[in-house]
Symmetry: C2
Subunit: 171 residues, 2 copies
């Protein structure tokens, strides 16, 4: 069985997902938060970076794979696995767990890693009505690449200007 990887991100109009690596996503709308929490109920596991993991207010995930450079071999703590993708084969690990659907929940480096490693089949972007002009970007890449997506749906999440875009990866 092929695993389906689905990325979720909430962004400002200008593509910023947070003020800093230490700040959470308290600026997003209630409607996005509901959409996000409901979506996470439907997946078998989440892939998350160490910073985002530490900042997450609710961790009602089934399994969590925390990507970190701080371990050399996978370390299991209950439903959480700390894994260093430079030292362990992440894809093989996920296959062995028999996951079908996995959510990619950030931050920037994890989104970038998953995109580069063909682990992003779908992408949900919630655009909240702010311009931040600074802050953390969606993808932290160094290399410009024209990754093609196709838009599957547009949804207004509330009357207060929040939009949800769903894309399919075409690469």
């Amino acid at each position: 069985m092929k695993i389906k990887y689905i990325a979720y991100m909430a962004s400002s109009i200008d593509g910023r997902i947070a003020q800093s690596n230490q700040s959470g996503i308290d600026w997003t709308s209630k409607e996005d938060s509901n959409f996000y929490q409901n979506s996470l109920k439907k997946v078998d596991a989440v892939i998350v970076g160490h910073n985002t993991y530490k900042l997450a207010s609710r961790r009602n995930w089934k399994d969590a794979i925390v990507l970190t450079s701080k371990v050399s071999s996978p370390k299991v703590k209950g439903k959480t696995i700390f894994l260093n993708p430079k030292k362990s084969n992440l894809k093989k690990f996920l296959q062995n767990q028999n996951y079908r659907k996995i959510a990619i929940i950030g931050g920037s480096r994890v989104y970038d890693f998953c995109l580069r490693n063909k682990m992003m089949d779908e992408l949900y972007v919630t655009i909240e009505p702010y311009v931040f002009t600074a802050g953390i970007l969606m993808f932290s890449g160094n290399e410009f690449k024209k990754n093609k997506f196709s838009l599957q749906s547009i949804k207004r999440l509330n009357k207060k200007s929040t939009v949800l875009l769903k894309y399919i990866n075409r690469n």
Copy 2:
């Protein structure tokens, strides 16, 4: 009469408006290009940065105010005025010209400058279906600020996944 300032930008999903300061916007859709060119017919002038000015393929603008640090006082060349906003009062200059509607057409520093100086009443963002992971950002700010906008409309510009969002500045 109050001048109405309208910003236009075409962006990747991840908020990048160009690969580099030397690259144009040849990656945008025909439909966005048509929308953009038609919009520019309806304004009295455009405000543009020096780099973007040099890269523009068509310059069928009525008047152009080119923001640049390379002049100390405004220099007029036909319908083009080169102006240094650190040395001249841009707003006063625009008022004296009796402009009613002005388009802000980038790049990053010009968008940022106009937003900070309350010269951005409306914002049109075209999102093309790519993730670039690197490149030039919409706004080149150093300071994080929660600039509030409200979404006025969403439009699919074509079948190929291009979306046009129209926002009103609420600050």
